[in-house]
Symmetry: C2
Subunit: 359 residues, 2 copies
Amino acid sequence: MTLPPEHPWWVADTANSRLVRAMRAQSVDRPPVWFMRQAGRSLPEYREVRAGIPMLDTCLDPSLAAEITLQPVRRHGVDAAIFFSDIVVPVKCAGVDVVITPGVGPVVADPFAEVTDLDRLPQPAPEMFDAVAEGVRQTVAQLGSTPLIGFAGAPFTVASYLIEGGPSRDLPKTKAMMIRQPEMFAGLLGKLADLASEFLRVQITAGASAMQLFDSWVGALPARLYRQHVLPHTMRVFEQVADLGVPRVHFGVGANHLASDMAGAGCDVLGVDFRVDLDAVPTAIRSQLPLQGNLDPAVLLTDADTIEAEVRRVLAAGRALRGHVFNLGHGVLPDTPADNVTAAVRAVQEFGESFEGVA
Amino acid sequence: MTLPPEHPWWVADTANSRLVRAMRAQSVDRPPVWFMRQAGRSLPEYREVRAGIPMLDTCLDPSLAAEITLQPVRRHGVDAAIFFSDIVVPVKCAGVDVVITPGVGPVVADPFAEVTDLDRLPQPAPEMFDAVAEGVRQTVAQLGSTPLIGFAGAPFTVASYLIEGGPSRDLPKTKAMMIRQPEMFAGLLGKLADLASEFLRVQITAGASAMQLFDSWVGALPARLYRQHVLPHTMRVFEQVADLGVPRVHFGVGANHLASDMAGAGCDVLGVDFRVDLDAVPTAIRSQLPLQGNLDPAVLLTDADTIEAEVRRVLAAGRALRGHVFNLGHGVLPDTPADNVTAAVRAVQEFGESFEGVA
């Protein structure tokens, strides 16, 4: 595949990395491996540098965010870094009063309820994300040939925090707004789609070679509501970064009933959560896109033998795919021993077989 | 359908109720309606009688449990009561040190980890559940022709509390035991299946006309693990109460990827959670069993017009089924205004059309 001339240098620079090749359904010597939440509480070096520093301050400190992003690459030898961030970073940068309370999650001081609240979200501009751009540049400078993945929360999940005021399993206010104030809901998701797009553009322009859009809470919706109220905005995010030419991953938690819709949202790779084995994903999706996933994060709490057996099972299921990016089926759990994460990476390196690719 | 002569009197007594007829795919004048967690915090009269009394003490006080079970029948005019209980009641009755901590959920003092812990669960005997039997008898005596549904947690969900020591979204210890100590896990689920069966037998023998087996956490498993480690034990529960001849409902949360397996576990009715519309349930399941569900509980936090519109949508989707028991797609949320629950019941009464039935 020849890259169009207008593509930025970094896309060319990591175009032959395992990660980018697998995401493009090109041949690789073995599946690339990285783990969602690979940077975080499972690493002693993370707990050390984070000590006493609030989460969002960490995300917005360029050298600290870069250091944390690099830690799992150094320790585990994963094939990609993902920029250390949080789903609410873009709205924080846009001026919303949000903090991340340990043990709770994002807490929004004044939840969004009225149409006038939409005015609290300004038109996005790259300058809002200068700290993130600088963090990405510092990261990429140290990563060498290892690609960096940019990260953003999907409009629905970010909206749910703004509407509920914090994490909520049942999303009652979000669903009520969707049903009773569909125009306000669409206005909010539209603004958040633009914000996510700009946030991703900034990361890619600063050096990210791929991106992932993360829809943590979307599994709470039936397909009917997802298609009507969410999918158009998610599609807009993918569209608005399409010109940058980096592979785009789409991932939702507990959203297997939405898999066909999510696969058709304009992404290049679909992340699969641990609830459905890769070989049980519908054929229409498997023949359309490379998949990312999906070792159960709970397996990393066991032992080296169990981890090896489970990694080999996931690798075997991945062999029949168009392309396979080895990952977990959700993020690394906080109490995971770092050595177990390394053991999983080693098992992928040892047992992952070469892929012919179709592209 | 003629009942075999050995069937107990109460099965004959409510055999012509809307609930039992719909669950047997027989003709009804309209779908029956009841709601999971219809007895509970949404009712002021519940909060009044519960004040200061711990949850498990309430469940095991026969007249208090009966009173709470009857409250939503009186207030909303639902077509069925469900015996007020909790998923951990059977293990509490079997001697396990478990309390329900408000705002947290069940907390097990000494979680199950070693094979020797299995000895802490005695052989089930009906006498363990005398308080529940008495509560059921008092309830049925006051219910008249309205049927009572018996309730038990499924072996997997109860096991998860015993292993994790409390509620856990990720179930790391449960999954680790399943994978690394499969024999202990099978031993535990086997014992819990026998306990659930006895607990349900006691409720049915005391007067319940139907039963529901509730698997709250099973959605966290892929079908592969479900089939191997869970389904055989769930099937045993349904088998062990089959001779009592009451309709058996099977319900799991976020478990739509397991729907075919759950539908084939030996139940007579499959409960469908709110994430998949009734008309999107696979045809093989819809043609096999009546379905129960699946208004989103979040809709009950809106307003009368929205509730009516959503109830009519669910009723319309239910019309194409073999049988339809109107319910929520999960339990009533604690902050739900009681009047909204009544409004939903009224809408089912007003707009539910007659069903021919196939049996």
